[in-house]
């Protein structure tokens, strides 16, 4: 997973939502009905985003540790770039 192409976004807030909240959880999957010995850590994220009307929606997703490391690296890059603007 890496930044593939330029996001097709413009400044219209019908398209872009405001990030209102970011919560995370580091979990460890132990076992499941299909696999008794899962044993893998994961990062679960819950985002709250608000559209232009103010309506807040919740988005949840999970990442494996390598995926999270890439996610973190991207955001570090964004933070660095935004400082220079």
């Amino acid at each position: 997973m890496e930044a593939t192409s330029e996001p097709l976004l413009d400044a219209k807030s019908e398209v872009t939502n405001q990030l209102v909240d970011f919560q995370w959880k580091l979990g460890m999957a132990v076992s499941s009905d299909t696999c008794r010995s899962l044993k893998y850590p994961y990062v679960a994220v819950m985002l709250k985003v608000a559209d232009h009307s103010g309506q807040v929606k919740t988005k949840c997703f999970e990442m494996t540790i390598p995926q999270f490391q890439n996610f973190y690296r991207q955001f570090k890059e964004i933070a660095a770039v935004i400082e220079t603007v």
Partner: protein, 195 residues
């Protein structure tokens, strides 16, 4: 059931591959009859069925316990010793198969147990200055992130676009968590630490 009919490493390897595709990687589609006719044409269907079930059971047990190589050897040895079990040649084929496919099968099992959406892609852009029709505020600068989320087994993706204005509290530059819409006068202190 003559064990000799099921000898030969190549057909068993093919069988294990097909079982893995069906059980772990989510690609069912190869019928029992097709497998039999392609890999074990001399074997009767009523003999093939229990053999297939036995192999499926062994593969599932190995994957479910995520056996390391010691556990695998012990397990397969036990299988060769029991009534109606496997031959030592078959054990060798299974052992080799697990060693080379273990990582991929584990990855599939991990994906199967993830019931939330996963992050399939991330793109971002930083704009120097942006303003929208709905807000008199000029946000600068803004980071716009596009997240591609999708659930396991679902073909489509959901795109979520997030923008985050750079909040201007003096000396405290954070990346997330402020919303400044003029139509909705909402301001809160960032609740979470910067990433």
């Amino acid at each position: 059931m003559a064990a000799g009919e099921f000898e030969g490493g190549k057909p068993l390897n093919g069988l294990l591959n097909a079982l893995a595709q069906e059980t772990f990687h989510g690609h069912p589609g190869i019928t029992e009859e097709l497998l039999r006719s392609q890999l074990y044409p001399e074997v009767l269907p009523e003999e093939f069925r229990p053999f297939l079930a036995k192999m499926r059971g062994i593969l599932k047990s190995i994957a479910s316990a995520d056996m390391d190589f010691n556990q695998l050897e012990a397990y397969l040895t036990a299988q060769t010793k029991k009534q109606g079990g496997i031959t030592s040649d078959q054990a060798a084929v299974i052992s080799k198969f697990w060693k080379s496919h273990k990582t991929k099968i584990r990855e599939s099992l991990m994906n199967q147990s993830r019931w939330n959406s996963g992050l399939r892609g991330l793109s971002w852009r930083v704009d120097g200055k942006s303003q929208s029709r709905h807000s008199a505020q000029i946000h600068m600068p803004v980071a716009i992130i596009e997240l591609e989320l999708g659930k396991y087994g679902q073909a489509g993706v959901q795109w979520h676009n997030l923008g985050s204005p750079q909040p201007p509290p003096p000396g405290f530059r954070q990346f997330s968590c402020l919303s400044l819409l003029s139509s909705w006068d909402y301001r809160r202190a960032p609740p979470c630490p910067g990433i």
